[in-house]
Symmetry: C2
Subunit: 205 residues, 2 copies
């Protein structure tokens, strides 16, 4: 029995794009339903009652079931595919980088891009403005850790592309929009080229 | 061939305790090696060269391999056990709550406990002090989401205890130390009792 997948998304979100990229690499059909988060379209009573009570996207809908959290959605789609390593340690290491992405990378690298490119520096609250320096430092640390790792490894885990690469690529490749200098991380730059050369790769909107 | 597990930890950290709780519930022997993060013992050149280049704990050592990120370590230990659901959707939903824990719960609920109980409010930087309100609001949102979910479910995923419960329990049950009022979340309070009644449960130090 084939399942039907619908992604509830804002196309500007790298967290949503991850899921579309995973589906594309796996050749899985994925419908999309679009919301503008800046207009509060995921905070309506209807969305919170029927899609996600936390008012966040992305949510992967699998027939009549709803799965929030981008990296969990990528995992669901990729189970039993080559995007999840067979080796037990490599699989746990893949999850290690996926948790790193949500804890150490996204809140810094993605948030600064969102603030600078979509909210606009002039519109930030004082509290947000005061966090810019700390996020720039923490984001640069995350990028440096990736760069050192990629100096010795072709892919983030094991010897083939995995979900660790797929979930780290979206916000990394547009890090400059948040004020980072990707050119300073040459191993990341080479890895970005490898990701973009994958068969069936699709670009972010 | 039996593997040897060593946890590089600070015993005050709930992220470290998660891994010890997982090992205890599974009956797996786990050595520990202790560091004081407040004294910078995980930022030494030796630690960063040999254990974790990011200078963070916990790290699960599996023979001569090192695995950072608490939730990845729990996954490694629990693979093929009853702590990971057999059902594909339940397994992805378990990961959904594990990513929620690291993205929406830990940076608020755990960080406020760390600041209030270990750093001390008087010693916080101005920048930290300015984040208290936002973290209190976001932490309360995370606890409310858990509470609503637990109003309708005995465990966070599926019909049995899983890693989703194990990784959410540590910082939730001590949330009061960060200024939250656990008594306001009665479904969480009942769930805490269920977790603590599990066979082979061990308490946090």
């Amino acid at each position: 029995m084939t399942e039907n997948y619908t992604l509830h998304e804002d196309p500007r979100s790298g967290n949503c794009y991850k899921i579309k990229l995973t589906a594309a690499l796996l050749g899985l059909p994925l419908e999309t339903k679009q919301y503008n988060i800046l207009k509060g379209e995921t905070r309506t009573p209807d969305f919170m009652a029927n899609v996600n009570p936390s008012g966040r996207i992305p949510v992967l809908q699998i027939d009549d079931k709803f799965l929030p959290e981008s990296n969990a959605a990528c995992w669901y789609l990729a189970e039993k595919s080559a995007l999840i390593p067979d080796d037990r340690f490599a699989r746990a290491e893949m999850l290690r980088w996926m948790f790193f992405e949500q804890y150490s990378h996204e809140p810094n690298v993605a948030t600064l891009r969102f603030w600078m490119q979509f909210v606009g520096e002039a519109n930030l609250s004082d509290q947000q403005r005061l966090q810019i320096m700390a996020k720039r430092t923490a984001g640069a640390e995350a990028l440096s850790l990736m760069d050192s790792h990629l100096a010795a490894h072709k892919w983030m885990t094991g010897d083939a592309v995995s979900l660790a690469d797929i979930v780290l690529y979206p916000y990394t490749h547009v890090a400059d929009a948040g004020g980072f200098q990707l050119a300073d991380y040459r191993h990341i730059c080479s890895w970005i080229e490898r990701v973009e050369a994958l068969p069936d790769f699709i670009a972010m909107d």
